[in-house]
Symmetry: C2
Subunit: 415 residues, 2 copies
């Protein structure tokens, strides 16, 4: 006969958790749950205990050795497991296990941005139908509280825009270029040496990581799923020291931003790309591996959330906060939800902005293409190279002008 462990004598409330994937984040979660067990219990008003850790690898020397399993069905079929922490990553096995966990009546907590960005609407819908939680505070901004503040604390607002420095690796590289005068390649090398960039840094420097995060933030802010394939994404590999110097001379710094903004017609314009950001503004002051996320609401105005956007412990901090929430609220949290996307996404041409352009050309051709512009004086500029800021232009208008000017080396929006 089966007795769930939660009924064992003397323990009135006991919440069992299973961790899927014992990589960086998964092992951090186990560590935090152990280190701060007393605080967590006090806050959750429950004893929360890790019962299983799923991994295909063996960890015979781990202090958690006896908790390891290789077969997901052990977790799936144990009714005493109330919360499943998915820290596998990717959108294949993780997707399968998440659905199976929900169908088995367990809430799921994750740091997996790829899965939420690809299948968030479906998984949220499934969780709600089953009256369970699917929580992912850790999927954006590491440990920075952002998902819950947007969905709860700003609930009285119609949100207008979410805009953020969402990737610590690229921000570190840009900071090293701008403050340290390193070339892109040298800055990337330095980031690798410090463990901030992966061996294959493409997901970071090409903007895909930021893209997934702005999809999640935009979906949450505007209530409809925005998919990564709908979000034009440009990384930072085209940004040169010359651009950094020009930006600096004009009173700006360069930041890779993910943006999602509500258009007057109700659609949402979302994209990722390097921007010129005015010095002295809060986003410009977000340096090194830090992230900063600005949210604009009709009632509150601008608020910003700042902190370490990645790393084992900050991310684990956010996962464990969600585990506490899931333990305290066995039933679905009503606030966290968005619908399937449909045709909500507008192309980036819809967003008007001023642009920074660097081109090998003469002033006459610049004026023929763009009319009046504001030239940036940069003593280190190459011969025949001009850098300038345009007026605010519609996207199509800018493209037309840019295409009519030959020799364009770099173009970035001005925030």
């Amino acid at each position: 006969m089966f007795f769930p462990r939660r009924q064992r004598k003397g323990v009135t409330h006991m919440v069992y958790v299973a961790i899927l994937g014992f990589g960086t984040v998964g092992s951090g979660v186990a560590k935090v749950m152990e280190k701060n067990a007393a605080t967590i219990q006090q806050r959750a008003k429950e004893v929360i205990e890790v019962k299983y850790i799923l991994d295909i690898r063996d960890f015979p020397d781990s202090p958690y050795a006896e908790k390891f399993v290789k077969d997901f069905s052990i977790i799936e079929n144990d009714p005493s497991v109330q919360v499943v922490v998915e820290t596998i990553g990717g959108a294949t096995i993780a997707y399968d296990f998440t659905k199976r966990a929900l169908l088995a009546g367990k809430s799921v907590v994750t740091s997996n941005k790829e899965l939420v960005a690809e299948h968030g609407a479906e998984l949220l819908h499934m969780a709600r139908d089953l009256n369970l939680n699917y929580l992912f505070e850790a999927s954006v901004g590491g440990g920075i509280p952002i998902i819950r503040p947007i969905s709860q604390c700003l609930a009285a607002n119609e949100l207008d825009e979410v805009c953020g420095i969402l990737n610590g690796t690229t921000n570190y590289i840009l900071s090293s270029m701008i403050k340290g005068g390193l070339s892109f390649d040298a800055a990337l090398e330095e980031a690798r040496a410090k463990g901030y960039a992966e061996a294959n840094p493409s997901a970071d420097i090409d903007g895909h990581d930021a893209c997934r995060k702005i999809c999640i933030l935009g979906s949450l802010a505007f209530g409809r799923h925005i998919y990564p394939r709908q979000v034009p994404t440009e990384g930072i590999s085209g940004v040169t020291l010359s651009d950094a110097a020009c930006a600096d001379a004009a009173g700006y710094t360069v930041k890779l931003l993910g943006r999602a903004k509500r258009m007057p017609d109700g659609r949402v314009c979302a994209f990722v790309g390097p921007h010129l950001v005015e010095k002295g503004t809060p986003l410009a002051g977000v340096e090194d591996v830090f992230n900063g996320i600005m949210v604009r609401g009709d009632v509150i105005g601008d608020v910003m959330f700042y902190g370490r956007g990645a790393g084992q412990m900050p991310t684990a901090s956010a996962v464990v906060a969600d585990v506490i929430d899931a333990a305290k609220h066995a039933h679905a949290r009503k606030y966290l939800y968005w619908e399937e996307g449909g045709d909500i996404v507008a192309p980036p041409e819809c967003m008007h902005s001023a642009w920074y352009v660097r081109a090998q050309c003469d002033e006459q051709s610049v004026e023929n293409a763009f009319g009046r512009v504001c030239y940036i004086k940069n003593e280190d500029a190459k011969t025949n190279e001009l850098a300038f800021l345009t007026c605010v232009l519609g996207g199509a208008e800018f493209e037309r002008a840019k295409n009519s000017l030959s020799g364009v080396r770099c173009a970035m929006r001005v925030l």
Copy 2:
């Protein structure tokens, strides 16, 4: 026979709200509830309606004219009112009405920092015993989400310190002095002209407003009530242009900070005073009327929350988010609670720090008092006036040294 309105035909969920006090914040709340009614309903999954507004004044031309009452017992005795919004301010009538509302079975939402700072533990205890909510997101940082993030999102952390620019008026004055070169009096006048400072600005410039806010944040972060009378508080009226210039020359800016920090013995050291803050750090970049609140946790490291810390609409935004939360959760939110304070507060002497000192004296007397210091070169300094930074000193040690040096004009901690 009495039929509560929530049972009226066709309306399955209807939550009635009463607003106490139709001043700046109260009228803002009514405005936001009306303007964003559709969004609020969608997020709350309930129809939320203002049924009564209590004010001693008459507002015959208000669009809400028919909702006004002068007698609190009408609200108290109407069982259909589920949430009471207290925007009266102060700790007398507001205190009485809050207790009566709770005893009548209504959750209470407030922006009243004075009341929470003076009676938070008691009111939270009362609310919990009655299984009701007492929510006060708007009491600190205006609309900046801070109370919920600390209590929920950072729940996996042992918090080490909360430190913030908590008062927009003083931050505006300091920004004007430092960036605009205005004297304290001229900057105060400008703040008054812009509506940022009250006719009697004492609560702001003497630090009392910041003191109440750090009491609330510290109580929440460390779980025990910290009372304003326990928190040594110094305002900004002693900060001169000369100090601003010295700070600038040394790579710092001047900010009024409220701080609450856990000591190794488990007590909490809390105080309010002007500090030197290193340029380029996030708190240094918080300018004008903005607030910035830094929270340090053992797992997450530093996170910062930034936005407009005051003003009708930002504050109303936070109040209405709490109303939505109270409407969705008729029963007590388990996360928001702290105990009576007892002897948790340690005197500020317990906190070691480096200090900035400006004094009319010679180098020999400085060295006799403080040993080795780091002098700040300031071309505009008065004759015989020295400004310097000390090593990190214990509080008692600093006091001894300071008292042994005659001619001290200004002393501020370095963050």
